[in-house]
Amino acid sequence: MVRSEIERVVFQPHTSKNLQRGINIIVNAVLPTLGPRPRAVAIDRTLRDKMPEILDTGGTIARRIVQISDREADAGAMFVRQMLWELQEDVGDGTATAAVLFRSIYNAGLRYVTAGGNAMILRRHLEAGLGVILDTLDDMAVLVEGDAEFAQIAQSICYDRPLAQMLGEIFDIIGEYGRLEVRKGRGRGLQRQYVEGMYWEQGVLSRNMLFNDNGSRTDMEKTAILISDFNVGDPRPLVPIVAWVMENDPSSLLIIAKDLPPTARALLLRASEASEDFTAIAVKTPGKLRQSQVAALEDLAVLTGGRAFTEAAGYKLSSVKPEDLGRARRTWANRSNFGIIGGQGDPRALREHIRGLREAFERGGDTSDRRKLRQRIGKLMGGSATLFVGGLTELEVELRKALAERTADAMRAAIRGGVLPGGGVAFLACQSPLQERWEQSTGSDERAAYRILRDAVETPIRIIISNAGYDASEVMAQIRMAGTHKGFDARTGEIVNVLEAGIRDVANVQKSAITSAVRSAALALTVDVLIHRKNPEKTIRP
């Protein structure tokens, strides 16, 4: 923590008013982006000679607002910003929904607390009410499958039909945990490529080890694999390993190590030159930090049926026996990556290993840790996809790439947790159980909590209607008359059965949005004192 001098301490009633002002600034900036007909938000560039940035996603807009000039309101603004950023990092979407829910809960809660309500007890009841909402959403969620349904989900997230169709196909192939890289493409459109097997982001230790495709790549068959993080000093223990592989069934040797001395590299090159039927190369141990290196070696060992050797565990090159080598049908390497196709480890062990990684992923935890776990699982899934995004201008490509990545994150959540009636209809359906709880409540704080939540869950659909240029009160009256699963199609201006119209929201995104909104608003309501530092550090990270 950075220590700096205290400039001022703010107490109630100023604390809440200042927070509320900041919250409203951020939410107002994000609010126009909710719905299928969002209005864009322009943000000045830091360099004055550049065009303003045009944005239509809540998370990115919030991320761009590093600080607001009103110091008193800044704490509230940054509070919402943090919530939206974390939500975007976690599930890729739902930030505008979370923002409007947050504001509704906070403002109504603040009115109640100002009138004498107990913020701490209200917080407890708000969180209990959140459980009612989540249960209701769970009951409504339906699983999606197949490229057509995936494309429909993607469309409801990105509103870009060609991109949605491409992502629908890709996720039908790679699945929830699959590895997808989004890269800048050539031309104006979208292209995709499926890559067989698994690959890691480390390449050959020497360019002299690239034998195919004009020295840009090496492809090998029936490969024996030494899996290690050895920083080899003495190359002599390598000789029996190379000799054994040359004399036995494998026709190639892949050494994974942190580094090999020039003599060891020369040994591998000489062995490769000595026989037309034999190739030996070395690649760098994948992973930058020790923890990720150990994880990668563990994955490689399970995949290939080999043994992972780490120096930290006391192993040396001389410890390696032929039976410790992994096997693969094919391997390849270039300057940046190496890959394995058809690892010959025990499939039961591989399935068990992946099951363990999935369980760790589903247990939750830090977003970054979960992302790493998902990437590990994706690497073991037998293939990956690359989506190439083209465009007329650099800006168009960058925006569409970001959109594709965000949509992909939300799609993973959709495959995992299913979908809900979209356009705010699922939240609207939560009003009925919340009303029931309100009627059953006895204490004033509990009644206030359910009333606040009952009103809040109506706000997303109201904002969607308003953003499309219609009168929210008038349209809401029509929706209530129309019945279950009926909502507003902002593209046509009609009242429709949203599921039949293909208007769906990702259940996990909506659940994360309401969870973030309720928990953050309930917490914000309990803040009584604000302490301003003299020279707070500016940061683009929350």
């Binding site: 499958e145 197949g146 490229d147 039908d172 192939i173 790679i174 699945g175 699959g178 499926y194 067989e196 068959e221 029936k222 049908r329 094919r330 058809g342 010959q344 499939p347 039961r348 591989l350 399935r351 992946i354 073991l380 899934m381 037998g382 293939g383």
Partner: protein
């Protein structure tokens, strides 16, 4: 009654697969894939001739699996798995074109053909170490599609009769069963326990799209049935057919209305008339000289329908 016993090859031979023309009742055409090569019969399995003659081979080319096009009467297409590739014929096996699968040479263990092959041209090949290869152009080109397939040792494939709509197929592997719902491009694990594997044979109900039923024959854990697309499984015939390798499962074309099943278990055949609840030997006192490796009922499982039985040793029996 044994109508004919035709030893089609060498004493060390083995029958890996048999496939019949969709109009077998009229034309009597069928093929037997064997270690010694491919054989064709034009008289319902009574006599056989070597179908690799035109290849002019110096050495034996094992045929590890065979499939006949559902439109065979017009397109004359036959597909044969061989070490390292697929052979394709468009003249009923008189001449062959070779499609070499990518190196190292895969050992093709099983072939499956889309019931809608006439329109979609889809074929699938399972390999012992390389997973699944898929062709969408009538077998002219093949590509590996192993996304989410966590076991590349494929032993059998079963394809939905409604493949044109549901794009569903299952594969049995060393460690269990995987399902594809996108025509064999990607795979997912079901609820089949790895402890029950390997899975040697699979059969889908002809009404799979409605009844979601499939059967799995294992190497050591007998026969199992799932009625929920492979999520949960129950053992069948534990008192009669458990413990031996189930090399083949056949269902009546009218299943489940006609709840007949036939299973090749070890060296015998067993039948069930009640969806697999109870089993009895197919014929009392029938004991073939070698183990049963493959069984095909080209016209159904009624008592007077023909049955082709492949054995270790290379015999194909016709009943």
């Amino acid at each position: 009654m044994i109508e004919n016993v035709q030893d089609v090859s060498l004493s060390q031979d083995i029958v890996y697969g048999i496939a019949a023309s969709p109009t077998f009742a009229e034309d009597g055409i069928c093929f037997a894939a064997q270690r010694s090569g491919l054989y064709r019969s034009d008289d319902g399995g009574e006599t056989w001739r070597f179908a690799f003659e035109s290849l002019d081979l110096e050495n034996t080319l094992p045929a590890t699996s065979v499939q006949v096009s559902p439109g065979f009467s017009s397109d004359k297409s036959v597909f044969v798995g061989v070490p390292g590739g697929i052979l394709r014929s468009v003249d009923g096996g008189d001449t062959w074109r070779v499609v070499v699968l990518r190196s190292p040479p895969p050992s093709v263990s099983t072939l499956a053909i889309s019931p809608d092959f006439i329109h979609d041209g889809v074929l699938l090949a399972g390999a012992m170490e390389d997973g699944v290869f898929r062709s969408g152009d009538r077998g002219k080109s093949w590509a590996a599609w192993n996304f989410r397939l966590l076991d590349l040792s494929v032993l059998c494939i079963a394809i939905s009769a409604d493949f044109a709509n549901d794009e569903t197929l299952f594969i049995g592997t060393e460690s269990g069963i995987f399902r594809s719902r996108n025509g064999g491009r990607a795979w997912e694990e079901g609820g089949f326990s790895t402890e029950l594997a390997p899975v040697l044979s699979l059969a889908l109900s002809p009404n799979y799209a409605r009844d979601e039923t499939l059967f799995a024959g294992t190497e050591t854990h007998g026969l199992l049935r799932s009625k929920d697309r492979g999520q949960t499984w129950e053992r069948l015939g534990e008192d009669t057919i458990a413990g031996e390798a189930v090399n083949g499962i056949l269902l009546s074309p009218e299943y489940p209305d006609t709840p007949y099943l036939l299973a090749a278990v070890g060296a015998s055949l067993f039948v069930s008339r009640d969806e697999g609840q109870t089993w009895r030997p197919w014929k009392e006192r029938w004991a073939p000289s070698h183990g049963v490796t493959f069984v095909l009922a080209p016209q159904g499982l009624e008592d007077d329908d023909p049955l082709l039985v492949g054995l270790v040793g290379g015999e194909v029996l016709r009943f």
